[in-house]
């Protein structure tokens, strides 16, 4: 124990670690009524790290070439020790990441945590959702299987309905008229370089913003559930009667992370084909179009919406309007009430929208 204390002192006199720990234990107090939903951010941070680690390991053997990509993924899964596990962790992890991001957003939506001064928190989180969808889409093509090839063909084809620039944009995305060698190169670069770096930068921004404004107070268990922010000067929200981040909330984070890992491993070990259907084990064949091309579950609602409208451009416009509304929600909803039961119109509308999204997703799956 003396050795550990000496080591701690050695580090402390050089970097002031004791000050940081003390600050986390007593200085960084969180709202006393903070709940488990607040730990989803930490879960997402762990997921992102897991995706990076498993992605780097996959990069050791993956070959971004249309003639070798499928074989290299099969090689990883079949020949490399723990390769199957690593690939499944990465592939299932990407779906789980989107699921947790959505849960995180829903919790913020219902607890009114997006309200001023946290508009930019919401906006940066919204862009993180878009980037997560982008990184999943680009990663989906990389195994170069029948499903990924045709799903990417359909997904990129949607862009062509944008007036004037549509066909140029499709060509820019694909690097040619068809999904092929150049598309794989582009998607690979985006997936392993551009998007992870952008996501990391945006996560940093998101965390910086949270640190500067302080953690929002959940509207539960309080008499006054209105937003207290005056908007006249910068205030870092403190909670003098709150609980310390360390160790109290760190333990809540660890509980949520452990439960997440249990869910992830349950899917990886027991239901791997739920996220990777058997059709995705067939190499891509540009000459044979599968009878049913379906995007990944998180794009099913978009896919079904496009089918509902007589023209793709109308479907895309409706989706763009919905997404813009969601992004700008903190600037549109200026009400001060945060409790979901005290703003029934908002709550019912939000539940209706979520149910609509789930309905469209299920419809898209079985259509």
């Amino acid at each position: 124990m003396d050795f550990l204390k000496q080591l701690y002192d050695w580090i402390d006199v050089r970097f002031g670690v004791r000050e940081v720990v003390d600050e986390k234990r007593s200085g960084h107090l969180l709202p006393p009524n903070i709940n488990a939903w607040y730990s989803l951010g930490s879960v997402l941070l762990v997921i992102f790290c897991l995706q990076i680690v498993t992605g780097l390991l996959l990069m050791l053997y993956y070959v971004p070439d249309i003639d070798k990509a499928f074989g290299s993924v099969a090689f990883i899964m079949d020949e490399i020790p723990l390769g199957r596990l690593i690939r499944l962790f990465h592939a299932v992890g990407s779906s789980m990441m989107l699921l947790v991001i959505l849960l995180h957003m829903f919790s913020i939506l219902f607890m009114g945590s997006y309200k001023a001064p946290r508009e930019l928190h919401w906006l940066s989180g919204f862009f993180l959702l878009l980037l997560a969808m982008g990184i999943s889409l680009t990663g989906y093509l990389l195994p170069w299987n029948q499903l990924s090839f045709w799903a990417t063909t359909v997904a990129t084809d949607c862009v062509s309905s944008i007036p004037f620039v549509g066909s140029d944009l499709v060509e820019l995305l694909r690097g040619g008229k068809q999904v092929g060698f150049h598309t794989l190169g582009r998607f690979y670069t985006l997936h392993v370089g551009v998007l992870p770096a952008t996501i990391a930068a945006l996560i940093g921004t998101h965390l910086f913003l949270i640190r500067r404004t302080g953690v929002s107070t959940p509207p539960f268990g309080l008499e006054d559930t209105t937003n207290q922010w005056q908007g006249d000067k910068f205030v870092c929200k403190d909670h003098p009667d709150g609980i310390p981040f360390f160790p109290n909330f760190v333990l809540q984070d660890l509980i949520s992370i452990s439960l997440y890992l249990a869910c992830l491993m349950m899917f990886v070990f027991f239901f791997p084909n739920m996220f990777i259907p058997s059709t995705s084990y067939m190499p891509a064949n540009p000459l044979v179009t599968p009878s049913h091309i379906k995007p990944e579950w998180y794009f099913l609602a978009n896919y079904q919406t496009l089918k509902l409208f007589p023209s793709e451009i109308v479907g895309l416009t409706v989706q763009a309007c919905a997404m813009t509304f969601l992004a700008l929600l903190p600037f549109i909803d200026r009400g001060t009430e945060k409790h979901p039961l005290k703003r029934p119109v908002f709550t019912m509308t939000a539940i209706g929208c979520i149910l609509l999204w789930i309905g469209l997703t299920i419809w898209g799956l079985y259509s």
């Binding site: 452990s258 439960l259 890992l261 070990f269 084909n273």
Partner: protein, 258 residues
């Protein structure tokens, strides 16, 4: 001139692609001419098109000789045209590709009776409409015109066990493929074992068939356990359980601290 370069490249690319296409569907004057003929002269082509030989690109000239690339000399004896082979020629023609089987057949009572009414390959497998060999080709209809069915049935029963194991592994391979597991090596091995098993029948030597089938079955037994997920599921249970215990542990510590 510069504008012509892409055009030349395009033409060159198209021309380069031609031999590839030609290798898949070679021009075949036998099929072209006989395919258009009626009755006796045209029927073999129609039947051949449904055969495993057609599926693998084994064409008329493989058995009948001749040159399918040259319409004028296609049936010239100088180009090896032999017409309808006589019975004694058939095992050596088929044995040109199916070498192992030809060897077994030649040494068997069937082979020794060749030219004296003994069966040739086409007696059981047919000629133009050859299909993938199955155990059902050993049947009363094929065997009893010449001899009793007892010994053939005994051989069939021994081979049926091997065939059942082959089928089970074949199903397992499809299952493994659906899980993204590479099965190329296993498929090749299975192909070889099936060939060995089916070739063995042609010896008509019950003791040898019994002995060799036992070896094949032992090897198949080994292959049958490939890709078993039992270990994976046990590890999965442990991993999920470990994460849940960890969550419970953190919950208890938190409760204590709170």
């Amino acid at each position: 001139m510069r504008q012509l370069v892409p055009a030349f490249l395009l033409v060159f690319a198209l021309l380069s692609a031609l031999p590839v296409t030609a290798a898949v569907t070679p021009p075949n004057v036998c099929v072209t001419c006989h395919g258009g003929l009626a009755a006796r002269l045209g029927m073999p082509v129609k039947i051949w098109k449904t055969s495993i030989h057609a599926e693998h690109g084994v064409s008329c000239n493989a058995c009948h000789g001749g040159d399918p690339m040259d319409a004028v000399n296609s049936m010239s004896q100088a180009r090896g045209f032999r017409g309808v082979p006589v019975a004694t020629e058939i095992p050596s023609i088929c044995g040109g590709c199916h070498m192992g089987i030809a060897k077994y057949h030649a040494a068997s009572p069937h082979g020794r009776a060749l030219g004296r009414g003994g069966p040739t390959c086409v007696t059981c497998h047919g000629s133009h409409g050859v299909v993938r060999a199955t155990i059902d080709q050993i049947n009363r209809k094929n065997c009893t015109p010449c001899h009793g069915f007892e010994s053939a049935l005994e051989i069939k029963n021994i081979m049926m066990k091997t065939d059942g194991m082959l089928k089970a592994i074949e199903d397992r391979i499809i299952e493994l493929k659906n899980q993204g597991i590479l099965t190329d090596t296993l498929e090749k091995r299975l192909f070889s074992l099936r060939n060995q098993s089916h070739s063995l029948f042609h010896t008509l030597n019950i003791d040898l068939i019994r002995q060799e089938s036992a070896h094949l079955q032992a090897e198949l037994e080994k292959n049958n356990s490939i890709g078993s997920t039992g270990t994976g599921l046990s590890i999965g249970t442990l991993a999920v359980g470990w994460a849940l215990i960890l969550a419970l542990l953190f919950y208890l510590i938190k409760k204590n601290i709170d």
